[in-house]
């Protein structure tokens, strides 16, 4: 995580149980910051058995961010790594619903539920 949390997104990566990685994402995920998210996710997916993306502190989710989620989902499928999203705020749920992605991605209301499902 960086001090500079206004000019970019914040990314906190941790392992909640063996090989279950949780990335907590904060801030605005747009054209500017999506590559940073992409990189963190690509790194995590290389070394975990299950991946949880906690989107609850995301304050904007644009199509560049949605594309990262879709591509991560494809990559996770290829590798057989379960991918779970934590999404409960309107800010995050609205873009997922409008684009029909709630049908495709596994979303949970809380981190606990997502982690339980991922294990």
């Amino acid at each position: 995580m960086t001090d500079n949390n206004n000019t970019s997104i914040t990314l906190a990566v941790r392992e909640v149980s063996p090989e279950v990685a949780v990335i907590s994402i904060g801030g605005e995920v747009d054209m500017l910051t999506a590559p940073e998210l992409r990189e963190a996710v690509d790194r995590a997916i290389d070394s975990c058995r299950a991946l949880v993306l906690d989107l609850n502190a995301v304050t904007f989710l644009g199509s560049a961010g949605l594309a990262v989620l879709v591509e991560t989902s494809h990559e996770a499928n290829r590798r057989g790594v379960p991918l779970r999203l934590v999404a409960s705020s309107r800010t995050v749920c609205r873009p997922l619903e409008v684009t029909g992605l709630t049908e495709v991605l596994s979303t949970y209301g809380s981190l606990d539920e997502a982690v339980a499902a991922a294990v």
Partner: protein
């Protein structure tokens, strides 16, 4: 839908759009260098206007996303980050009318089949984009969006 504003759902620009572009400047005009780090200020403007125009939270979120998507497209197709992106916001009786343009390096308008454009269309009550030569003959990409306060989108 009462529809007092321009209706630009067709895929080619109609007279109303051109008139609206050329008439006395929109109430609020924002000019930025065509750089991704300025997207957030455009979202902030969109959100403030939609909030004050009594849009509900979903409609505010939709407008922010649509403006972001439109401007991200204009920025990614500009010739250089020094190009100027010009955005106009007009708060009309029952809708917000957003227009934006920037010089472009591609003579063709963005595909209407792309993910980004499909999202943008689904978020607004009307969305249009086209390329036209600017004052100096350089191609200019234009986007025109209408978001109604009580639209048919996602209801």
């Amino acid at each position: 839908m009462s529809g007092t504003g321009p209706d630009v759902t067709t895929s080619h620009p109609r007279i109303e759009v051109t008139v609206s572009e050329n008439q006395s400047s929109p109430e609020i005009e924002v000019r930025i260098a065509a750089r991704p780090d300025h997207l957030s200020v455009l979202r902030a403007v969109a959100a403030d206007l939609a909030m004050r125009a009594d849009f509900d939270l979903d409609a505010i979120s939709d407008l922010k996303m649509a403006v972001d998507e439109a401007c991200a497209t204009l920025i990614s197709r500009a010739n250089s980050p020094e190009d100027q992106l010009v955005c106009g916001f007009a708060v009309e009786a029952d809708q917000i009318h957003f227009t934006a343009h920037a010089p472009t390096s591609s003579p063709a308008a963005p595909s209407r089949e792309s993910f980004g454009w499909r999202v943008l269309s689904s978020l607004t009550d009307s969305a249009n984009t086209w390329v036209a030569p600017g004052d100096d003959g350089v191609p200019v990409l234009r986007v025109d969006l209408v978001k109604k306060r009580l639209g048919s989108v996602g209801q």
